[in-house]
Symmetry: C2
Subunit: 232 residues, 2 copies
DNA sequence: GTATATTTGCGTTATAAATACACAAAGAAT
DNA sequence: ATTCTTTGTGTATTTATAACGCAAATATAC
């Protein structure tokens, strides 16, 4: 037993992990809870912060334990915010720090002693445990906002992709229509993407050109919030 | 005594409160600690989250208790982030949620049983307690970023102000030079400010025109992150 | 198998916005 | 009395945004 002079809340982390594929569009990674409360319901991967562990480290650890996802030490989770409603967990007072991140779906192995982990398209989400519905909604809003001010896609698209793929990713997040040609021009002018190899001269116009992100320029624009801006 | 099966961290809040005046520029509100650790050192206003209290509510309460500041229930604190270094407090494991806010200096009464509270210009800060130096630095960076994407000034300038005053506020936050005429044009075109009364016809050109914020439009632009953008 | 629709790349043009200054009047500083 | 500073107004120039045309290849429909 651990005793304190004043009552202490428990602190947990939750992660909203976004994945993407051309068929389902944007999806969120959820796990099925194995224990009460909300046994067998869907919830965000997450768990209790250890006493000698930083909060973001906890989010990474829980993510790995529950979904097999091993985030690169480079790619940092984005802090979404603190959720502190006094009755959000029936067991005890629990304060949660939520994070979000974009990953390639293929990186989820779901191995280990992983509870059942599954992708749900953002417009077809299940019933949630706790206040996780609100957290996911906030994450989607946040992602929608962030996409205007920093480049998105490096972690969520395959290494080599086509302009139509990048365009569709943006459209499926923003849910608005904008001109594909202006979008491609902007991406090129920003210098964020490089053409991969040469297009074979026997290839038809219908075969899309392949690109990869220019990591150097991508990181630069990610940090310099003034330089990157989308309108739409 | 309150006992738990697993060890629990303590949770606190800290507030970075910015004020402004033409002479000192941007300042931060700090209090002198009355107890150990860091007795008599300067620290951010803040304190322990109560077990039946939401985190943001705690930040408001502590702010009021320690500085006399009573924030309008409308103006919400902005969440800055979570600070969770395992040794940031020598007493026990403490996780802090930091907030920031802009206020008029005059609103700080410093009454009550308030510990000594004082404004420090951001480029002349004292030694800090805990990791509050990092928190303040982060808040300044965050403010610098936010200023590009949403209107700032409603809470920090007097109700009626002049364009040169608004211009100087922006310059003292951003610490870059930009054209005052283009800035004024932009503010006018955004519809964020309304001229107050008529300029007396005997008034010279040297007497600045008075403005107040158009609250409706201000709030609109605050929420629609796409509509408000500064370049500089 | 032919007609039609869709996808892709590569443009152009009109409108709007950002940027960089010019200038004059009033007052302050020297 | 002269010079410098502050304030408001205005105007070019450059740059970015938004809307759209077109042809080639291929997929789809009938």
């Amino acid at each position: 037993m651990y005793c304190y002079k004043y009552p202490h809340p428990a602190v947990t982390t939750d992660c909203v992990v976004f994945g993407y594929d051309p068929n389902d569009g944007l999806s969120v990674l959820l796990i099925r809870r194995g224990i009460e409360p909300f046994k067998d319901c869907w919830a965000l991967p997450g768990g209790f912060v250890r006493i000698d562990e930083e909060v973001e480290a906890c989010a990474r650890r829980e993510l790995n334990e529950e979904t097999g996802l091993q985030l690169s030490h480079l790619s940092d989770l984005k802090e979404l915010g603190c959720y502190s409603g006094v009755n959000r967990d029936p067991r005890e007072r629990v304060i949660t720090i939520a994070y979000y991140q974009l990953v390639r779906k293929s990186e989820v192995i779901g191995g280990d002693d992983a509870k059942e982990a599954r992708w749900f398209p953002v417009d077809n989400l299940p019933e949630f445990s706790f206040d996780h519905k609100k957290i996911v909604e906030d994450a989607i809003e946040r992602l929608k906002r962030d996409i205007y001010f920093e480049p998105i896609g490096f972690n969520i698209l395959p290494e080599v992709f086509t302009m139509p793929q990048l365009y569709k990713l943006y459209k499926s997040i923003l849910k608005v229509d904008f001109d594909r040609r202006n979008f491609a021009n902007k991406m090129m002018k920003l210098g964020i993407v490089d053409q991969v190899g040469h297009r074979p001269k026997d290839a038809s116009r219908r075969t899309p050109i392949q690109y990869r992100f220019n990591k150097e320029r991508y990181e630069m624009l990610k940090n310099d919030k003034k330089a990157f801006r989308l309108e739409f």
